[in-house]
């Protein structure tokens, strides 16, 4: 914790005015003017006393969310504690000493012995860990003459997940339509419609599930057991085997590093889209160290996958010989390449997408409101090739 007094332009101006009034008072024998000068001078002292003193007993703690998202506000909260038993605190600004664009938090008042929670929003512009090292609480209260600040060293971190774009309606269905994926029968029993087997009756089974013929022939009650509906599966493989400077990209187009980021955004968007549509997903990152992920469904699984994508360090050495492991379960494999597609990576049945197609897969802004219920559109399997100019009629182009 470090306290400081700062030179403040209005304070400097005020001091100049005080000096001028002092000169006038010295040259003009008017005691009223002398008093005006005295009052103005005492204002400077008062400013230091009335706000400098309470800041001695100021404590603050920062609370950050675990994750954020590129382009989305990360709400950071500060618990400002006034440990003084006498002096209240007013008009406090909390400012992070960081390069992340964001606003200042403002606390109007903290009474003696009270604590108040203020919040501010930061807008991370890149994925990865967002580290906030220290923050400063400053005030110019009561007269705006001197700025007083207290610095707190409190390092905390938030993982910024990659941007997730809203894909065109039906994109996922179209991509997976030609592959072996799709709703299948599960080996687990549940409230599905497919037949799984027959077993003995157990108390609690419904009458409508009783296999009457089998029961009549066997002489004991038997029940038809049905399987749960297995969700469709999709495996997203992100091909990052080639180092950034070895990528073969169009010199007039986007930079290689930007394309890699686009590929990550595309992977994140497809994963999010798939999870929303009920798919089980698995993320495989080729070329960079990343944890092996299972094929799962659900919010927390998606968060884990996005966290893997967020933590990817593109400056790390690449493993050029990485191969995509064979999928044990039936699933659509979607390979996202940064530059050119490497068909040897996967056997037949995989769908290859380039990072340059990100723009084409994104839903146009004008249709976002209309596409609140994104029902799959048949025949929209192949996205338009125009990468950055979305078509006004999604799915119409091929």
């Amino acid at each position: 914790m470090r306290r400081r007094y700062h030179i403040h332009p209005p304070g400097l101006l005020y001091l100049v005015v005080v000096v001028l009034v002092g000169l006038a008072a010295a040259n003009r024998p008017s005691n009223l003017l002398v008093w005006v000068f005295a009052a103005m001078l005492s204002g400077v002292l008062l400013s230091g006393v009335l706000s400098g003193q309470p800041l001695m007993k100021l404590r603050a703690v920062r609370t950050m969310p675990r994750t954020g998202r590129v382009g989305e506000p990360v709400i950071v909260r500060y618990t400002v504690i006034n440990e003084s038993s006498l002096w209240p605190l007013f008009a406090l600004f909390v400012r992070e000493i960081t390069t992340v664009p964001g606003s200042r938090a403002f606390v109007q008042h903290v009474g003696p012995g009270e604590q108040v929670i203020a919040e501010t929003a930061y807008w991370p512009s890149r994925r990865g860990p967002m580290r906030l090292e220290r923050f400063r609480i400053e005030t110019v209260f009561p007269f705006g003459l001197v700025m007083k600040s207290v610095r707190f060293d409190d390092a905390s971190e938030c993982l910024v997940l990659p941007r997730v774009e809203r894909l065109r309606a039906g994109v996922l269905v179209s991509l997976a339509s030609g592959t072996v994926a799709g709703p299948s029968t599960s080996t687990r029993s549940g409230p599905g419609s497919d037949f799984l087997g027959i077993r003995e009756y157990r108390p609690g089974d419904g009458l409508r599930h009783i296999a009457w013929r089998r029961s009549a022939s066997a002489g004991t009650l038997a029940v038809i057991e049905r399987s749960i509906d297995a969700p469709p599966r999709i495996r997203v493989a992100l091909d990052l085997r080639r180092p950034t400077d070895a990528l073969r990209v169009d010199p007039a187009g986007r930079a290689a590093r930007d394309l890699e980021e686009d590929a990550i955004v595309l992977a994140a968007s497809i994963l999010s889209h798939a999870q929303r549509d009920g798919y089980e997903t698995r993320l495989c990152v080729l070329g960079l160290p990343s944890p092996a992920m299972p094929m799962r469904r659900g919010h927390w699984h998606l968060q884990k996958e996005l966290a893997v994508l967020a933590a990817l360090d593109l400056d790390a050495p690449r493993e050029a010989s990485a191969v995509l492991p064979a999928e044990r379960e039936r699933a659509t494999t979607l390979v996202i390449h940064v530059d050119r597609a490497d068909m040897r990576l996967v056997a037949d049945g995989a769908v290859h997408i380039g990072a340059t197609q990100l723009g084409a897969l994104i839903a146009p802004i004008s249709t976002l409101s209309a596409a609140a219920d994104p029902s799959p559109v048949a025949g929209s399997a192949t996205p338009p090739t125009d990468a950055r100019s979305p078509s006004p009629t999604p799915g119409a182009a091929s």
Partner: protein, 753 residues
């Protein structure tokens, strides 16, 4: 907490106070009425539901026009005295225009800054009591308003920041500035503390500010009022103040109060030295024969000469009560014979001019009233007795052109039977006849139709190489009483007639209810005294009295009827504040020093008296002092014990969260876990202060990271603490001693670490 509403109201109050201060300095009710109404209307309309406001270009244009007008005015009247007024008018216009602008925090700041400039300019233009009161009120209001501004502007700025930083508009809900409980109560307290501290600090700076003598606070003031010197080059308009300076009760030789038929002239300062280079009249500063007199409640009149005490005929008494004037000069109507005061004071008589001044300078206890015995028509012997020695001859008038004018006037007057030099040689008394006749002729000449009386000297411009008296008589021929008196004295002295300028008051208003003259500042006057005998001086007033009285009468307003309310406060203002000068500073320092020295003695005396009184009351005899001493020591020990126990109980409540428990329980707990508090103190001194949010166990872990040895010792303490605080253990004396024994190892570990 609706800070915005409170702030808007506070700013409006500030603006009106600043306009009122300027109106008071200008003595113009219209400025207050029109300015105040415009300010209120602007605030109401621009803050209304439609938020109507003038376009920015119109406001800028208006401000530029105002600045242009100010520049033209200053070029027309290039006087340093006029500059604050012009600046104030320009700022007033800009302020009223700015109130019609939209209101962002920056605009509010500009409004406040303009009002501050307006107040400072008002203080520069006038040191009047009412201005002072308004300036002080403004300063107090500024403290609270500035605090409100920072709350209001801070919230707005934070919201703007939040909106500007947002990459996507509308992604965040509008923010409400968080605050704790009862913010307005805390703000009021803080503002109150600020006001008190501000007054104390500003009073200290005010007292210590290095200054020259500004006695009376009148220098540089263009209001009417008594002045102990005259400057004929101070042009401009002299505003007439209706403030009551003093009241005078005039008692005839039989002791009956009543008015005179003629205006009563009260002599204040006698000015007999003229400096042609700067056009100023001053008093003679060589007071070789001055005599001092001490007056007091039991001393009665102090007579200036034995003959004066014996004088029985035509001795009048004048009782002066100061109301708003704080001056060291004593005002007398005629030749003073004796002086008395209710308070112990010291007066000095200059026998050469019969001028009396207060010897004890400074602000503290300047006389509020005094009585003078005086003789309206003193004989030569009586005047000689008071003067004590022959008056020194006055030097000839230094401006030669005046003599030419005087001779021309004398020749034009064609005075018949004027004693010539031969006749005077034959009969020296004819000299005084001649001087009286010539002075009367000059008086008649100056008060004639060739000269006009006015208080507006804006057109009385300085001409290089020309004396202002010559300019008055030959070129401008208008002026106020100082010019008429100066011309009269200059004419007399240029042809060898001894004369001097006298400044004081002319009393014309008599209050028949209280039987006394009411002397207002507008009655300040200057006239001439011409030597008309060996020891006598005659009063000659060349100012046209009728015109003078008409101007004074026209200046009266209905507000003058209520002056009696303000006058006592105004007297305090003038005597304690406006006239605080370097001598008052020295006096105050001396009094404070002597007061500090005497305080110890006073306390010792009072203690001894109290002790004796208690001894007598309890009838304890000779050993009573000893008993009382013992009781006193016991009480002191008890008070200390209560303080220590109370402090420990408060700490228990604060740090152990036991505020809801009974006081006795808290005291017992404090005693039982004193070892724990001691260990916390030791850790805090070593830099391991325990945060209040941290449990003792967590604190052990924090200490572990810094000093494992200390953590080991502290663990034992915390274990014992938990047993007592939460385990229901009530430690015996031996267990408390054992717990205390845990502290030294901790201290040793901290010292090693």
């Amino acid at each position: 907490m609706n800070v915005a509403l409170l702030f808007r109201r506070a700013v409006l109050l500030l603006v009106i106070l600043s306009i009122a201060a300027f109106a008071a300095s200008e003595r113009s009710g219209w400025v207050l009425v029109i300015g105040g109404l415009l300010a209120v209307a602007a605030t109401r309309i621009t803050d209304g539901p439609r938020k109507r406001h003038l376009p920015a270009w119109a406001i800028r244009f208006g401000v530029f026009v105002g600045i242009g007008w100010g520049a033209v005015q200053f070029m027309a009247h290039p006087s340093p005295d006029e500059a604050p007024r012009i600046v104030a008018y320009v700022v007033l216009g800009a302020l009223l225009l700015k109130l019609w602008d939209r209101k962002t925090p920056s605009d509010w700041r500009q409004v406040m800054a303009l009002s501050i400039v307006l107040v400072v300019a008002s203080a520069l233009a006038s040191g009047d009591f009412l201005v002072g009161v308004l300036v002080i009120g403004y300063a107090v209001a500024t403290i609270a308003t500035t605090m409100l501004y920072h709350l209001h502007a801070g919230a707005a700025r934070a919201e703007d920041d939040r909106r500007a930083a947002a990459l996507r508009p509308g992604a965040l809900a509008p923010m409400e500035a968080p605050h704790g409980a009862a913010p307005m109560r805390h703000l009021r307290r803080l503002a109150g503390a600020g006001v008190v501290l501000g007054i104390v600090l500003s009073a200290m700076v005010f007292v210590m500010f290095p200054r020259e003598s500004v006695l009376g606070g009148q220098a540089g003031n263009r209001q009417s009022g008594f002045r102990p010197d005259i400057s004929l080059w101070s042009a401009g308009r002299v505003s007439l103040s209706s403030r009551v300076a003093m009241t005078v009760t005039l008692l005839d030789p039989r002791g009956a109060a009543g008015p005179l038929t003629l205006p009563l002239r009260l002599r204040g300062a006698v000015l007999d030295v003229y400096s042609g280079s700067d056009g100023k009249w001053r008093g003679n500063t060589t007071h070789s024969g001055d005599r001092s007199y001490q007056t007091g409640p039991a001393q009665g009149f102090q007579w200036f000469a034995a003959e004066a005490r014996a004088e029985r005929s035509n001795v009048w008494t004048q009782v002066v009560e100061m109301r708003s004037l704080a001056s060291e000069h004593v005002f007398t109507a005629w030749l003073p014979l004796a002086i008395a005061s209710e308070e112990p004071r010291s007066f000095v008589l200059d026998p050469r001019t019969a001028e009396i001044t207060e010897a004890t300078a400074g602000i503290v206890g300047r006389p509020r009233s005094y009585s003078i015995r005086m003789q309206g028509y003193p004989s030569g012997a009586l005047a000689h007795a008071v003067a004590g020695a022959a008056p020194p001859a006055l030097a000839d008038f230094p401006v030669l052109e005046v003599r030419v004018i005087a001779e021309r006037i004398l020749a034009d007057a064609r005075l018949v039977d004027l004693p010539d030099e031969e006749a005077i040689k034959a009969d020296p008394q004819l000299k005084w006849v001649r001087q009286r006749r010539i002075a009367a002729m000059f008086q008649e000449y100056l008060s004639g139709p060739k000269f006009a009386y006015t208080t507006d000297l804006s057109a009385f411009r300085r001409v290089e190489g020309q004396d202002p008296i010559v300019l008055f008589m030959e070129r401008y021929r208008f002026g106020h009483c100082e010019y008429f008196a100066s011309a009269m004295v200059a004419l007399c002295r240029s042809i060898g007639i001894e004369a001097r300028v006298v400044t004081g008051y002319m009393a014309t208003e008599y209050d028949t209810v209280s039987d006394r003259y009411v002397i207002r500042e507008s009655g300040a006057h200057a006239w001439a005294e011409v030597r008309t005998g060996e020891w006598q001086w005659g009063t000659f007033d060349p100012s046209p009295i009728a015109e003078l009285l008409a101007i004074q009468q026209a200046n009266r307003t209905w507000m003058d009827s209520f002056r009696w309310v303000l006058d006592p406060i105004e007297f305090a203002w003038n005597s304690q504040f406006a006239s605080f000068d370097s001598r008052a500073q020295a006096e105050l320092v001396e009094r404070v020093g002597s007061g500090t020295r005497g305080t110890g003695e006073w306390i010792a005396e009072q203690s001894k008296e109290l002790l004796d009184a208690a001894n007598r009351w309890f009838l304890m005899g000779p050993a009573g002092a000893l008993w009382l001493g013992l009781v006193g020591i016991t009480l002191a020990i008890a008070a200390t014990a209560v303080w220590v126990v109370g402090r420990r109980a408060r700490r228990v409540a604060r740090e152990l969260g036991a505020s809801n428990e009974r006081f006795t329980r808290r005291i017992a707990l404090g005693r039982d876990v004193a070892f724990y508090f001691e260990s916390l103190d030791a850790l805090a001194r070593a830099g391991c202060e325990k945060p209040r949010s941290c449990t003792p166990r967590m604190h052990v872990q924090a200490v572990q990271r810094l000093n494992p040895a200390a953590a080991l010792a502290f663990t034992a303490i915390v274990d014992r603490f938990y047993e007592i605080r939460y385990g229901g253990m009530t430690p015996s004396r031996a267990q408390r001693a054992a717990a205390d024994a845990l502290i030294p190892p901790l201290r040793a570990a901290l010292t090693r670490g």
